[in-house]
């Protein structure tokens, strides 16, 4: 078995025992990247030199018997919308193609404390707006299970990298499903924590009230391990919760006896692919066998979540993306005589079509005369949706739903029609509206050999119950025996 095939926690054991060095591990990933990323295209940029340098330093410290973190020397890939001092942070946009971050995101500071090794920056839909990574201004990332299909998005690079063993684990960001949906389409574990649990400082903002950073990993254990580093109060983020540190690995217990799991019927009806529905029902059955009680329930207002999402997310985005004006950083058009030209030409040439479309919609719903009808109304409906969630969580510990209504779709299949693309998020978006934690766990392959995943949604700040249930499922099943085939893409 190659080093790049192991999970992060397996690599930690090997490093601790001295069986392998961080340099060996890091090298094996860059060899793998050279072998496979030419076809997968998960990375926007790689950081081989600094990575190996860091790996060697950690190895020296270990040899010298200095106290080192168990995470030290473990490689990781970072979605390219998080700032690392001195490295390019592009958001897969022409606007930031040459932007070098002058500071570290708080999550990067956290990983630095543990001396982790950065393999590189991962591809995404431009400014995290999309569900297929086709909106990257540079190139689309391919799905390792079928290179003719999308990896999902917006964290498509982060998901494909883990699936193709181009990184043991990666960081993604999730605004309406951007961690969970690509994780699902690529057959890896994706965790979106409760809003406010992980600092957003240094994450290039898409929709401030919905964005949240989280891990994409090969298994649930790695999710818990990476959460331990990501979660924590940050005084640089006013919305960051001030809790005492938790050890999420304590939740990794193989037991769901007595757990109450709700199964919202709305997500198992029309609009959801037959095979996906069957798979999720099989998961429900599995949980029953394992001692949980499954009960069908209703989450009727959930159907409005996507509409609410596109009003709130686009409104916030239209304001958050105003700072890209070609003055202090970012793309500046060659064509200008006056200030207005710089603004309008730089933004028109620097942003891609989907980003511009969202800025337009967001500007519209905030503009005078429409604010109450759209933005204000959406915020009220958001309250209604939160209330519905609270009522469900008085009865259930978890909700079980699909992650994506379909498995990975073909390039170009939905990119022509925005609404159809937006519907790829119907199962994940409500979770962001509620600010709740949710996990995407792979459970089976469809008839085309594409991964299907299920989603577990938990109470706010109760990531433990999600981890416990997901871990239990994983321990009693064997999805990880399946491996991506890299078929198609006439390679």
């Amino acid at each position: 078995m190659e080093l790049y095939e192991f999970t992060a926690h397996e690599l930690m054991d090997k490093l601790a025992s001295g069986e392998v060095t961080s340099e060996e591990v890091t090298k094996s990933y860059f060899d793998r990247i050279k072998e496979k990323d030419g076809i997968v295209k998960a990375y926007v940029s790689t950081l081989e030199e600094s990575a190996l340098e860091k790996a060697r330093k950690v190895d020296e410290d270990r040899k010298a018997g200095k106290p080192v973190s168990k995470y030290a020397g473990i490689p990781i890939g970072i979605k390219d919308n998080m700032c690392i001092t001195g490295t390019r942070t592009t958001c897969s946009s022409k606007m930031l193609e040459n932007f070098v971050a002058p500071y570290n995101a708080t999550v990067i500071e956290n990983l630095n404390k543990e001396d982790m090794v950065y393999l590189g920056k991962l591809n995404l839909d431009e400014f995290a707006m999309g569900s297929s990574t086709e909106n990257s201004a540079f190139f689309p990332t391919k799905n390792p299970w079928d290179l003719d299909r999308v990896p999902g998005g917006s964290s498509g690079g982060s998901a494909a990298a883990v699936a193709a063993d181009l990184a043991p684990w990666t960081l993604g960001s999730d605004t309406g499903g951007s961690i969970r949906q690509p994780a699902s389409l690529c057959g890896v574990v994706g965790f979106k924590p409760t809003y406010g649990l992980v600092s957003r400082y240094g994450l290039v903002a898409f929709a401030s009230s919905l964005d949240q950073i989280g891990p994409l990993t090969k298994d649930v254990t790695d999710s818990a391990l990476l959460l331990n580093l990501l979660v924590g109060h940050d005084e640089k983020d006013s919305t960051s919760m001030d809790f005492e540190k938790k050890d999420y690995t304590k939740a990794l217990v193989n037991d769901v006896k007595g757990m109450k799991i709700g199964l919202p019927k709305e997500y198992l009806r029309e609009g959801v692919n037959e095979e996906v529905r069957e798979a999720v029902l099989a998961v429900a059955k599995k949980y029953e066998e394992l001692g949980a009680t499954i009960e069908e329930c209703s989450f009727d207002v959930g159907k409005y979540a996507t509409s609410v999402y596109y009003v709130i997310a686009d409104a916030e985005a239209s304001s958050n993306l105003g700072r890209f004006d070609g003055i202090r950083y970012g793309y500046r058009s060659e064509k200008f005589e006056n200030l207005k030209d710089i603004y309008r030409n730089s933004r028109s040439e620097g942003f891609g079509p989907e980003v511009k479309r969202r800025i337009m919609v967001g500007t519209y719903v905030l503009s005078s005369g429409y604010y109450d009808a759209y933005y204000k109304k959406a915020q009220k409906v958001r309250t209604v949706i939160n209330k519905a969630y609270n009522e469900l969580f008085e009865k259930y510990d978890l909700l079980l739903t699909p992650v994506s209504p379909t498995t990975a779709f073909k390039f170009g299949e939905k990119s022509e029609n925005p609404i159809e693309m937006y519907l790829a998020d119907i199962c994940t978006v409500p979770v962001n509206i509620g600010g709740l934690p949710g996990i995407s766990v792979p459970c089976s392959l469809d008839s085309k050999g594409l991964p299907i995943s299920f989603q577990l949604i938990g109470k706010a700040f109760d990531e433990e119950t999600i981890l416990k249930a997901a871990y239990t499922y994983e321990q009693n099943t064997n999805f990880r025996e399946n491996k991506p085939t890299f078929k198609g893409g006439n390679n």
Binding site: L203, V204, D237, S318, S319, Y329
Partner: protein, 479 residues
Amino acid sequence: MAREDYEIVMGLEVHCELSTKTKIFCSCPTEFGGEPNTHCCPICMAMPGTLPVLNEKVVEYAVKAGLATNCQIARKSKNDRKNYFYPDLPKAYQISQFDLPLCYEGYVDVETPEGEKRIGITRIHIEEDAGKLNHDEYGRGSFVDLNRAGVPLIEVVSEPDLRTKEEVEAYLRKLKSIFEYIEVSDCKMQEGSLRADVNVSVRKKGATEFGTRTEMKNMNSFRSIVRAIEYEANRQIDVIENGGVITQETLRWDDVSGKTFSMRDKEDAQDYRYFPDPDLVEIRLSEEYIENIKKSLPELPESRKKRYLEDMGLTEKAANFVTGSKYYSNMFEEASSVCGNAKSVSNWIMSDIARILNEREEEPDELKFSGKELGELVTLIDKGTISSAIAKKVLEEMFKNPEMPSKIIEAKGWIQISDEGAIKEVVAKVLEANPQSIADYKAGKDKALGFLVGQAMKETKGKANPQMLNKLFLEELNK
């Protein structure tokens, strides 16, 4: 119709920089000046991914300002984004407050020729200042300096209660002095830490409807505000008198040409798309919090004035003048305690100190000497060490180099001659030189005495004790 048939209606939006150590949403210094873009960080430069965190002092100072201007204090408040593109606004939105300002429904009372008038304050809210655009004469372009971006401001919005330029100035001076007293701002207009947008409209006297208003932005001296109001009111009246209509617009006052100009590059219809900033959380103020700030407020002008009238025997006029500025008032209290002659101290402040400041085009906050020096000056006069003529010269010196008066007098050798023998000699000398004047005096021309005293003063370079001179001349002449 004539100008007198029109009434001018004005409202002010006063922007006041708070004197916190750090900016409103990041830990950069607010200190004025400095190399361009050195009081900056990724946050106030709006680097991608950065987030704001509210400075607790900004809320405290704004509440202080609200309480000192009789405002209601909001128990729940929030920050909103005001979206527009301009190079001095790095985020392309200004974090301000829209529908829930920290303070609302206040007022201040100002002195007007017709007596005291109450000016309503609609609201006081907190917001961030913008950066600075520098323009170079070689036309190479403009240059953005973000040192000031993110400096905390309060915006004080008045009701349209102001009718004359005198009222506007009195209102502004009142706000300035209150904010100086409670120490929430240094209110240095010359550094732009106190600026006003003036809304002006005119209407026929007796009309109940307001006329269309124009707004003059960023005025930062009393002088130009008064000139601008005069110009703009007359302009509007002329337009109406010539059958024209006023268009609602934002104007720029040009001090050099003494005219207002329409601000062209903001001609596009503005739509600020206010919405609650999702990066910041709600502000909730408890009764206890507000009570504590109330308790912490220093003595305000009104109560000082009361003391000056009742305990220190000042006239209404003097008390008003001295309490008009925290700097005058503090100097007055210190000087009076030094010399024990409050009346004289207030006179010096009202007459000579105010006059000299005016000549130097300076504000009281620019005074280089303190009440200690002024107190000694008055003492020296009262002890007869110097004449008030000399004292005026000493004061002029104190403006140039703020030394103790006694030092100055010594250095310049200005001590008053009160030695009878010495003065007798001078008197004898002068009489001898002016026999004609003696004759005139004896012939009943009293003003001859004044002439002789003047001569003696000349002889002694003004140092002779005037009372003593008079006495001795009379003795000699009436022999």
